[in-house]
Symmetry: C2
Subunit: 157 residues, 2 copies
Amino acid sequence: MYNWYFEDMKPGARFETAGKTLSEAEILDFAFRYDPQPFHIDATSAEKGPYGGIIASGIHTIAVALRLFFQAGVFAPEISMGSPGCDELRWLQPVRPGDTIRSAGEILEVRESGSRPQLGIIRYRLEVLNQRDEVVMSMIGTAFLRRRPAAAGGGDA
Amino acid sequence: MYNWYFEDMKPGARFETAGKTLSEAEILDFAFRYDPQPFHIDATSAEKGPYGGIIASGIHTIAVALRLFFQAGVFAPEISMGSPGCDELRWLQPVRPGDTIRSAGEILEVRESGSRPQLGIIRYRLEVLNQRDEVVMSMIGTAFLRRRPAAAGGGDA
C-alpha cells in the first residue's frame, strides 16, 4: 500500500499495482452489458473480425485498471474527492482472454487549489501493462484530493 | 436505429439515444467491483463526503453511455473496427441513484485512412445528459469503421 497523502506526492513518484487475469467469461459479461460489439461478445464473429478473436472492451480495461489502482492504496483512505476527467486515453494493444494486466504510472503535476484551500489537484500518467510488459492502455488522469487541514491556506492556483 | 455506414457520416450529423435509469443497486455493484471509493459504495460515508451522498463512478457513466450508443445503432452492424482512444473525457455533474441518463452527440470529422484503404476514421463528440438535460459527462471519441469495399482506394490520410 502506498497510502500517499496529497502532501506526500511529488512529480516523478511512481506506482505499480498487482495484476488481474481477465477471464473470457468476465470479458463477455462486461461487454454484453456495456459494450456489445461482435469482437467483444461473439467468439465466432470475432474470429473473422479485425482482431482475430475476442478482445476486452476498452472500458473494461480502464475499469479494471482503476480497481487495481485503488486496491493498491495509491491514495490514502478518504482523501479522494473525485475526478474532473481524463485526457489522452489510448487503447494501444488488444487485451485477450487470459491476459493479466496491471497498472503503473507516475505523478506528473501537483498543485493546490487557490479557490478551495482544502483541495489539492494532481495529474498522473497511468499505463496498463500485460504479462509481456506491453503497454495496452495509457491515459492522463486528474484527481481532486483532500489536503491535511493544517496545511490549508496559501494556495496558488 | 441510425444504422449509419461510414459513407453516410457527415460532420454535424447528430444522434441521440434512449435513456437508462441508474438504480442505487447498480451504482453500488459496479463501483464495488471497479471503483471502490467511499462516495460510490458507502452510503453513510458518502453522506458526509464531497458529494453529500452516493454518486455513480465516472467509469460506470461512460460504460452506460457507450451501451446506449451501440443500442441506438448509431453505427450500422459489423462496421465498427474498434477505437484507438478518446480525448477530453470530462465528468461535469454527479450522477445520483435514480437519475436517468442518455447519450447525444455529433460527428466532428470524417476521413479515409491512406495506409488502410478499407478503413474509415471518424471523430465524434459525445455528451451524457440527465433527466434535467444537464450535461453530466462529455468526451471526444475516435472510431475505426469498415468502409464499403466498393469505395476503397484513393484514400488521402
